[in-house]
Symmetry: C2
Subunit: 412 residues, 2 copies
């Protein structure tokens, strides 16, 4: 076989794996107990690797808040000193089978969701959804934030554990139905969150604290975010490490750098500077307040959702000032840089065509088309939280570097 | 003013009333207690007026089941004799501020929803949603049907009464959000039913039997049907009786005749034979099993939803064998026969254009375009229930007759 055939064969294999997998929510438990390799001093963060000292303020603050939550530090200052001490092992979530939105800080004492892709047996993990406003993932660390995390660890996590152990939840099914109901599954999670809650409500309401948990979930319009992310990672991971494949298996940002990984170049990060997302801002905020793009949530676009599924959710594009035509265009551009289309997640407005699946570094390099990423916009100062929503893109440099490395690796 | 100006002025007024109204779910109670003019011997039915002897079998059976439910008859045979005796006053729901899906049988002892259009002060009523399968509205009358109605009267109705009295529900808001989530609100009520349940869940779960009621609602994908119908009637009714207006305020079917009413021709029914809906059938059934079109649910199309909002829900059109193009076409045809567009209920796929609102008998007569009606298909034998879904149309004759009467009435 010549290299072109090798690539096609490898990409078909990677694509088929991503396309046919399932994502079953099976458990909730402490990160330190269920994430392989997670030690007492491990701190997971969003994006490609980054040292604590180099993190943007909201991510640093989230680390500090997490150390206080864990009972390791009594103040943010103490937590900051500890984080700089070298005693902690900072690791990208993605390198530990995990994902986390925005700061993506996961420490051993936090409850995480456990998602399994049954055919391949791989598991993925994600922290629990705090809601909007003042929350750890945007770098808020006040008493209400830590109290909420404590409540989540003592109620939400254990409650959901009991519920999904009794009846596991097919997250890909919910994602597919939600895309038919106007969710693109990065900004908009209205339908999916309702569908998830509806799915678990019967067993949830059996619990002594079931109503309290029900209410917590019902009030969160993006609750499904922290379930959709590990679901998509569960679909992507088995497609990683396929020799010759040029398909992207990870896209993620740490606020400084945007990193991608490529199936045939296992374990390598290709990075470039993050964009500051452009979009619409809540009253009182403007573009100059925006932090650089961060979070593992670009795993949604990696699997054809979010910006690549814009045509399914024109209300999201409209929110950031675009029209239905712009929404359809974002998805059409997606088709130009992907291997194929999802067989399960279909867009009604495009005559039930599947979402664009399998971003190919060759096609990105050939067309210079970058995937559109729908993202929340955080204030660059810690603790203020979400200030708007908009779009961003990965840096072309990451795709250029990946191609160079690919050429060197495979001697072409 | 010449007649053209009179018509335009009247239609603008009727349209504005339909467009700006609200539909607030405020109460649930016994039909006999809250529907003005409802007497102990009143039996409401769907569609234009019809005598018991002339009803199709499923509607006759629903009458019999209702008389057993009311404790007036001990058997279907006895109920049939009573219904033929002349002791009962059969009235169209629409003439009693009410609507009912399919057979639309409402008797005094049944719980009904009470919806109010606050600016105009008018109230509308609808029976409660039984679900699918063997149900009274399709002419099923077995023990399980009557037991369910009893449970609904003792639990669902009183429970919802307590909940909506505490916090009334804005049904038009839910309808508008649901249309953004793929409901066209005649066949598909997936989003709206979830949104409604989510809206009331907190107060509902306070009730001693709240979980049981919650479960009943959660299992019904079309629960919102019996709330959307009185909501749309609440918006339409104040637009009825406006001198010179040529806008349609009611479209409804009794299984034999399809009837329409026109704002400027208050109280008159214009009728023609119903179509047998054409569509897809559940396994084991075919077109030859289908009953003639029946039910008041065409109130949804009267207000621009259902078939006229097909573009919002291509999955419905797809279910009956059409494409996204067909779905958009059904809505585009709607624009050709309506006065304007809803300001609140918008279709994302059409760049957030409002649904077609205010069917005009002049435009229907001029173009011969008939509104598409999305409808469930019932078996023509009583008690078998829903056997498919499809589309139907009103008879052109009804619109022709209305125009003739209009010309005579206004001397043109």
């Amino acid at each position: 076989m010549d290299i072109v055939e090798e690539i096609e064969k490898a990409n078909k294999k990677a694509f088929d794996i991503m396309n046919r997998g399932k994502a079953i929510l099976k458990d909730f438990d402490y990160a330190g107990k269920v994430i392989p390799g997670m030690k007492d001093n491990t701190i997971l963060h969003a994006g490609p690797p980054i040292a604590y000292a180099d993190m943007i303020d909201p991510m640093k603050a989230a680390v500090q808040g997490a150390l206080m939550f864990e009972g390791k530090a009594d103040s943010l200052e103490e937590a900051d000193r500890m984080a700089r001490s070298g005693d902690f092992d900072f690791r990208p979530c993605h390198e530990m089978n995990s994902v986390g939105p925005m700061a993506g800080i996961i420490t051993p004492g936090m409850y995480v969701a456990v998602v399994e892709n049954p055919e391949f047996g791989n598991k993925t993990f994600c922290n629990l959804h705090e809601g909007r406003g003042k929350i750890l993932r945007f770098g808020a660390t006040g008493k209400e934030v830590l109290d909420r995390l404590k409540w989540m660890n003592e109620n939400l996590g254990p409650g959901l554990k009991e519920v999904v152990r009794k009846k596991p939840v097919d997250l890909k099914n919910i994602a597919a139905e939600a895309v038919q109901m106007g969710d693109e599954l990065h900004q908009r999670y209205r339908a999916s969150s309702l569908l998830f809650l509806s799915n678990i409500s019967d067993n949830l309401l059996e619990l002594p604290n079931g109503r309290e948990i029900f209410k917590f979930i019902a009030e969160k319009e993006q609750f499904f975010l922290n379930l959709a992310m590990p679901a998509m990672k569960a679909l992507a991971d088995p497609a990683d490490g396929i020799k010759y494949s040029t398909l992207v298996t990870r896209m993620t940002r740490n606020g400084v750098n945007f990193g991608i990984q490529v199936s045939g170049l296992k374990g390598k990060w290709f990075t470039g500077k993050v964009e500051v997302p452009v979009g619409l801002f809540f009253t009182g905020f403007s573009q100059k307040d925006a932090a650089g793009d961060f979070g593992d949530s670009a795993i949604m676009e990696t699997l054809g959702l979010g910006g690549l599924a814009s045509a399914a959710a024109p209300s999201v594009t409209r929110f950031v000032g675009g029209s239905v035509k712009d929404a359809i265009r974002a998805t059409e551009l997606g088709y130009k840089i992907t291997y194929g289309e999802s067989k399960d997640i279909l867009i009604p407005a495009l005559n039930f065509r599947g979402v664009p699946l399998g971003i190919d570094i060759l096609k990105v390099n050939e067309t210079n088309i970058l995937p559109t990423i729908n993202t929340g916009i955080a204030h660059k100062q810690a603790g203020i939280g979400q200030i708007g929503g908009g779009i961003s893109h990965p840096p072309l440099k990451a795709f250029n570097d990946a191609l160079k490395d690919y050429a060197a690796t495979y001697g072409i």
